[in-house]
Symmetry: C2
């Protein structure tokens, strides 16, 4: 499954002028948000809260999401994951096969009749038909893909394979809070793998573990591989990728030496106890779950009679795994980890732009020239060309939005035929000669 | 709004081996599909029908969708459209502002209580609470984006701007049929523009018209710009982009000379009548609506009190337009237009791969070498490396899947140090020397 070579084909806009971006930053924290990620992302114009746990990704935020998605796509390709796209509307027939129609986390679609009755009366005292349609909004797609696979898989030659999608998921969370960390509608990468044996599943499970570590590392997160309970999905032990953060809703026991970790829900370890692996000290920490992996065994293949015939002509159930990453959670966790009092400090790989270029008063023409120069070198640049804003306002916005490199063009720097370059999160700026600015970017 | 330069950043897998693609082609048409697009797309392994009007995009189909999306993104960037992403769950507060909560085409989410009651009883005889939640699945996003804009727009300096998304839409279609041509869940590009004056809207409206013609042309469709009724969305005249096809559910009157067209629903023209523009002959034709443009005026800005202050300090309502393209419809229309008895004939820009490489019996090693060679040249190639399939089966699959260039490696071609190259839809093949195959692709 290793013969896929990733490449870059989709389209993203490389450059943007702030005068043409319709969003604006705000100084005040939104009143209804308590988490740092929601506060900074709303203030910077990355997201807009439509309802509890439901956000719009504004242009800057959508760029960050696409950067995260791009990293995931590359690493999925390296482990043979093929991209596809399943529907959000999942029919009852799929979930009935595993008994998951009853799971309350799903948003059910109302019956048509209920809609018509509901639309003419705000409260019905008598209601004589089933209020639900046969559809739920997919919160996961094991059943759907297993049913699809049963059309195509019949022989051991058809295995193994792995398919994934990056798609909106829906969960009726009673406590949607913490900004992007717990949403009712959120973007998820869900990968499913199909194998002829448990050995092959476990081999691939390790591949996914490696890919996940690479993904989180490339995004700028340190994720701890944590043993966890099965939850609603499976009876066996599963694994989570946890980012240490006080705002996290999960609690893990982690060894301060070898980083062996277990989710508190299933752990027999204790705070200040001894690590079973290396005798280091176990500490209790709060964390954000950004990904998870599930060895599913034959649970779903049994439900959908997904079988293959082996070399000897014998029939067996297919062995499966599933693997998730919450893209919004990754974005939220990034902000929780990488910020200071002034705003976000995006790791370069996921920043909305590489360069934030500020042209101060009286330097419009030179600013435009530098912008064109950077633009033609193929570097992503956000250009603050607004001439009705003070230098202070521009600096504040640049710190809040959080691109890695800030270029300032002022009358003072131009006298020295230079641009002031400062890295976000560092104090010292330096002057770079105009002739050299593209070189330092490449 | 023209300072965006598109570039290619997202990730797509360039190459694929058929032995590793989990889908398979089938010879028989699916029993429950009557349209050519659904039949060929299902048989080729592009789509999978989950429910009426609800399809999975399998890996090959998802590639085609991403090609269409890429073309749309490039053309949107050229007219200053900025990409963003709004939620599918739309709260009642948005649609109440325009009275569109009552529109029956929306899938409403059931009330939580209804879900719990519904889950324990299949039919309720007494139902004492409102069966609907406050959410509907977005079938369009005028209200949501107008509300968002009202946070950011206050001055004429904030206008104009245009923002779009490529996102799943949901419509409770009573007659979901015709494959991808009329879905209940479908991918749509929806663009919204905001202006300080009607003049500026009409200027941009023409820009969008030009961009749409380019998009459809690049995808391989000829779309007729057609005057249409407002429908549910607006009272004014709107415009549709119609692709002539007998399977189409729309009927238009079109001039056989200048192609002036009106939708029959609003037209006073007649079959065999005279064109009001050029005196050519008007003919009645069936067609598929692949896009539409709506001059919205101040309908939505009035509902959300979206105003701006002009240079003189006077306050005005913002003038808006909205513009849609159905990506699945484009894909379905492409298949309806571009096929023959053997299968699909994808236009090159939207084909899942540029080259379909077939290695016949005994040529596995040479096939692998050619595959590596093409792969390293950066060309997208689908490699039929299956050694348990006959030449006939491989030819049939290649015709069905429909990539533009078919490369055949056989013992016969290898004796001449060549590969047989044939263009899909043409009869004649020619031999190209192995040393030259990459050159003819670039």
């Amino acid at each position: 499954m290793r013969h896929y070579s990733p490449s870059r084909e989709f389209v993203i806009i490389k450059v943007m002028k702030l005068s043409q971006l319709f969003t604006k930053t705000t100084r005040e924290n939104p009143k209804d948000e308590t988490s740092v990620n929601a506060q900074l992302l709303e203030r910077g114009g990355f997201i807009y809260k439509n309802s509890a746990g439901i956000y719009t990704f504004l242009p800057l935020g959508w760029r960050v999401m696409q950067k995260i998605a791009g990293i995931i796509r590359e690493e999925m390709a390296k482990i043979g994951g093929i991209e596809m796209f399943m529907p959000a509307l999942v029919e009852k027939k799929y979930l009935d096969a595993t008994g998951r129609w009853e799971v309350e986390v799903g948003f059910k679609i109302a019956n048509d009749h209920a809609v018509r009755r509901g639309s003419t009366s705000t409260r019905l005292s008598l209601y004589e038909v089933e209020p639900l349609s046969n559809f739920v909004l997919g919160w996961t797609h094991e059943e759907v893909l297993t049913a699809i696979a049963s059309r195509f898989v019949s022989s051991y030659k058809d295995l193994p394979f792995a398919a994934y999608q990056i798609q909106t998921k829906f969960r009726n969370e009673p406590r949607a809070k913490s900004g992007l960390l717990r949403g009712r509608e959120f973007m998820m990468k869900d990968l499913y793998s199909f194998h002829a044996s448990e050995d092959d599943l476990w081999r691939y499970y390790e591949d996914v573990k490696g890919a996940y570590h690479k993904i989180f590392h490339r995004c700028g997160l340190k994720a701890i591989y944590t043993i966890a309970a099965g939850g609603t999905f499976t009876a066996e032990n599963t694994h989570e990728f946890q980012v240490l953060a006080d705002i996290g809703e999960d609690t893990i026991f982690i060894c301060d030496k070898c980083e062996y970790a277990e989710n508190k829900e299933i752990s027999k370890l204790m705070n200040n106890g001894q690590c079973p692996k290396c005798k280091g000290k176990i500490v209790e920490r709060k964390s954000i779950e950004v990904g998870n992996t599930f060895p599913l065994g034959d649970k779903y293949s049994k439900a959908f009679d997904l079988k293959f015939v082996d070399e000897k002509g014998e029939s067996h159930l297919v062995i499966m795994g599933s693997y998730g990453i919450g893209l919004g959670r990754v974005m939220g966790a990034l902000v929780e980890i990488h910020h200071d009092d002034e705003g976000i400090i995006w790791p370069e790989a996921v920043a909305p732009f590489k360069v934030h270029l500020l042209a101060l008063e009286g330097t419009e023409k030179s600013g435009d020239e530098i912008y064109e120069k950077v633009l033609h070198s193929g570097i992503e640049v956000l250009y603050d060309d607004r001439m009705d804003k003070s230098a202070g306002e521009k600096f504040t916005d640049a710190d809040l939005i959080g691109c890695q490199l800030r270029f300032v063009v002022s009358e003072k720097t131009l006298q020295k035929k230079s641009v002031e370059v400062k890295r976000r999160g560092e104090k010292d700026a330096k002057l770079i000669e105009l002739d050299n600015i593209v070189d330092i970017l490449l």
